[in-house]
């Protein structure tokens, strides 16, 4: 078995596609219709295009418990998932300029530095740098 996919629940796939590609810089890899306006929509990192794919999944619109869970995480400030970056401070500055809202500014914890932002699609996302 291989780990090839992580899924992120989003309320609006098109909005999520714009945010994750235009602001975060991911590339669209797969985009196939699944009926009812839903898509199998995956993204990859530009520097690791054969790496794991990020699935932007419209689950909260179709399965109420997913929406409840997502809202609870958002309310408590918990990140839904995290991405590695080379430099958290530089990425924070870059994203702030693009209007991205952070709930946790770059913070050191032990051998890691992290920050948390709002993906505008219902999730907090954490970026992490290993020190």
């Amino acid at each position: 078995m291989k780990v090839t996919l992580i899924s992120i629940p989003v309320r609006d796939q098109e909005k999520a596609l714009k945010f994750y590609t235009e602001k975060l810089g991911f590339l669209k890899k797969k985009d196939a219709p699944l009926g009812g306006g839903n898509r199998w929509l995956t993204l990859v990192s530009p520097e690791w295009q054969d790496g794991p794919e990020l699935l932007l999944e419209p689950a909260p619109n179709h399965f109420e418990p997913c929406k409840v869970f997502q809202d609870a995480l958002m309310e408590a400030g918990f990140p839904y998932t995290q991405f590695d970056v080379e430099n958290v401070d530089a990425e924070y500055d870059r994203l702030i300029k693009l209007g991205v809202e952070f709930s946790v500014k770059p913070t050191e914890m032990g051998t890691a530095k992290f920050a948390v932002f709002n993906d505008t699609c219902g999730n907090n996302i954490q970026i992490v740098e290993m020190l």
Binding site: A76, G77, V104, M109, G110, T111, V116, N124, M130, L131
Partner: protein
């Protein structure tokens, strides 16, 4: 403060309060990052940071979740993928990232990536 931030604060206080230890292991990790291509061993790493060999091993594992050896191997494999993608030969790559024999490099590379260095190189350069 959100619930998440309060949890983070709690973890920070209970697991990451020893700054001296943290600075030591970060120093060891940086040392590996800057010297991965040389003949690194535990003795050398502990001497570089003035701590005993086993203490250093324990600390590194405690904070990074893997041993310095595992970290070093991952670093070398990561770097060798970069070199192979950029056109270096398998032999050049092997010695450039600090392996001493082509056989052990190829075996380890295949175990870690699922492909032999030559197959990896063919695919990587074909994609370009």
């Amino acid at each position: 403060m959100t619930f998440y931030e309060s949890k983070i604060k709690h973890i920070k206080n209970s697991c990451f309060s020893n700054d001296k230890q943290i600075q030591t292991v970060i120093g060891i990790k940086n040392y590996i990052d800057n010297n991965y291509e040389s003949d690194l061993n535990l003795e050398l790493l502990s001497h570089a940071k003035f701590v005993s060999k086993f203490h250093m091993l324990r600390l590194f594992k405690k904070y990074y979740g893997l041993t310095p050896r595992q970290y070093l191997i991952d670093k070398r494999i990561y770097k060798s993928k970069e070199l192979l993608t950029n056109g270096a030969s398998v032999t050049e790559t092997c010695f450039a990232v600090g392996f001493e024999s082509l056989g052990s490099f190829s075996t380890l590379f295949k175990t870690k990536t699922g492909k032999s260095p030559i197959d990896f190189k063919k695919r990587a350069t074909f994609k370009k």
